[in-house]
Symmetry: C2
Subunit: 401 residues, 2 copies
């Protein structure tokens, strides 16, 4: 009775996971729907932004040489030659001894090299007193200062934030090329599973993974496709997997908690493809399968939700990034001091939940299978396979949830 | 010609903004759609989770007293009384001298107080050798250990993360009470604005705010409702605002860059309600209006996108939290060392964009109106109104984007 299976390192597993990714095709979508999507080509500014020199304040555009030495007691006195309206181009020019009123965001007329904000000026009829010297370029955003024509605004592989949406609007990218959202199938297997609305009988548990992994996928910019619960039955699992592979770009199976069930899952994947990894030196999450069927990635996640979730973060996340072309799917991290010793088995990469308090990371001990610590912690620390633990007072990088 | 307007502190502005919030009603939605929504009542566990004692490993459930002193050379020898199937309740019991095989996640039979993982056991026919002592409770998650019956899982006001969705699935909350998503109108005003797909003529700029503020609203769990561009015209603005107020729970106007336009916006709000704030001691973002019309919040954001965005973060975000009942809409922050001196005017709260590099925060100087620094920075630092700046080497809290 062989009870071990050969495990590989997390690094190798990530490499295997990335290697089976199928790159999503490009599509062009409206900018208003592009937040969270991944750019499939770089976006450059087609013209200078702004396309004209703009005032950054309400004030008077002038020749700054006219204001040298200006003070409260000896203000510079300029003749008001006109007022710029919003949205109109230059027309009035500025020359020595003359100024033009420009509202915030208005075009700075030809000839002006600075703008005195209204707060330092006084208007008396068609005369304007300027009570302080104005520096060259002051209160003016010059043409092309934000994005010069031809400059790269955002590069291929950027997952668009809402600020990025603003920058793309600035350069007129009303429609943007992004990679299609992967449709990812979720199959929960296990005789012990009941649907979430049901009351579990003794020995039964609710199908948490469909919800937890589904929400994870939405968060990663994917479209989850739910296959529901499948009993640990070869024919049933084969049928559901085949159907899921027809509709999806990748499939995540979860469950198969016992060794026999895991082996069955691996065999079914092997029948229509290959199993690259069966067992990873990671805790929690050791009984993970990485395979390919019908040319598409199929990942066998552990049945326990907390373990499945960690594997989703560590192994599935890079796979999805490869599929969408996301350049840097790194986690937000924070370097903190560890508040307590954390033991770990050498040869296994451990992910320990931590709570952050007063600038320190407190490990959440207790069983890795608890779901309550998933929501009562702030993130994870990683103990590399080569270490036998971490010591109190060590600096650790906390992967923030 | 009075060019100043009375400004109030950021703290007062936030208080005013919160005071005009209209609380969204509750609705019950499927759990699979609840990620990012705000719980409108606390969720407790209706029963113990798990509902039975579960194995956390493949192994043999036993009476731990039987394994005292067990070793490689002198293993404990137990009789295998049966195997638990997944999903079935107890049935077989364990008594001294006997053990039962339990797969990971399976029910631990009555009488067992520990589980020997398969890795320390050897099965010989119906005998099982256990080579190490097993501690009381080892490899068992006891009934109710995750969420005891009646315990609070998540409290009212929680904005649900994808991990929270998993916890709610665990306790069978297939439908959850959340506050309705606020519908928030966006009106961009300004004669200088052209739609994003257009090429701006001299003096014109694209309507960035509809996109930037729209994406911000989606990110904050709201539904944006776009009114498009309105010229600086009293009748037109009045009509569009009235229509928006009929359809929306709150309205954000952006623009009115010049003082005259700002005054016009304030007057139109006043006609059908009140203006609480006209001008905030904040940079960027001074010309902000906080008002109420038709009983609904109306915020006048600055016209410049970078300023409008900072005001959205600082002033609109707490308003939206008050509307959805979100308990703690705090920003993720990181404490870092400031890499350079940052000057600031006393009496004004300054928000400076910073880039994080090598554990230090580098202020992004240059004009606050630049959009490129919104996407090329990592967050903001706040300089309180009482300070005249921050010094190199000071510890600063960076509000992360």
């Amino acid at each position: 009775m062989t009870l071990f299976f050969r495990t590989i390192s997390v690094e190798e597993a990530i490499r295997a996971s990335r290697s089976i990714a199928v790159r999503m095709p490009s599509e062009i979508i409206p900018l208003s729907e592009a937040c969270g999507r991944v750019l499939d080509s770089g976006i450059t500014a087609g013209a200078d932004i702004p396309s004209f020199s703009r005032s950054t304040m309400d004030g008077f555009a002038l020749v700054t040489a006219d204001t040298i030495g200006a003070s409260e007691s000896l203000p510079a006195m300029l003749r008001l030659a006109g007022r710029m309206g919003m949205g109109s181009g230059a027309g009035i020019g500025v020359s020595p001894g003359r100024c033009v009123y420009v509202p915030t965001g208005g075009a700075v007329p030809e000839g002006a090299d600075g703008l005195a904000m209204v707060e330092i000026c006084e208007q008396l009829g068609d005369q304007v007193l300027v009570r302080k010297p104005v520096a060259n370029g002051e209160n003016i955003m010059t043409r092309g200062e934000d994005f010069p024509a031809g400059s790269m605004v955002l590069t291929k592989g950027t997952r668009l934030t809402h600020r990025d949406i603003g920058a793309l609007a600035a350069v007129g990218a009303a429609r943007v090329p992004v990679t299609r959202q992967p449709v990812v199938g979720i199959i929960s297997t296990g005789n012990e599973l009941v649907p979430v609305p049901d009351i579990p009988a003794p020995g039964q548990v609710r199908d948490i993974n469909s919800y937890l992994i589904g929400a994870f996928l939405v968060n990663r910019g994917c479209i989850p496709e739910y296959s529901g619960i499948v009993r640990d039955d070869r024919a049933a699992l084969r049928t559901v997997l085949t159907r899921a592979l027809e509709r999806c770009d990748a499939v995540l199976l979860s469950g198969g908690s016992s060794k026999d069930d895991r082996d069955m899952t691996a065999e079914i994947i092997r029948e229509s493809g290959e199993v690259l990894v069966h067992g990873i030196s990671i805790s929690p999450g050791k009984p993970t399968i990485i395979g390919r069927a019908g040319g598409k990635p199929v990942i066998g996640l552990p049945g326990h939700p907390a373990s499945a979730y960690i594997v989703a973060l560590v192994i599935v996340r890079p796979l999805l990034a490869e599929m969408t072309g996301e350049r840097d799917p790194g986690f937000p991290v924070r370097t903190l001091t560890l508040a307590e010793n954390v033991p770990s088995a050498r040869g296994r990469e451990d992910y320990i939940r931590v709570r952050i308090h007063g600038g320190k990371a407190y490990p959440e001990f207790g069983k890795s299978g608890l779901i309550n610590t998933l929501i009562r912690s702030d993130g994870l620390i990683r103990i590399p396979a080569g270490k036998e633990g971490l010591e109190e007072g060590e600096c650790v990088e906390v992967i923030l949830w």
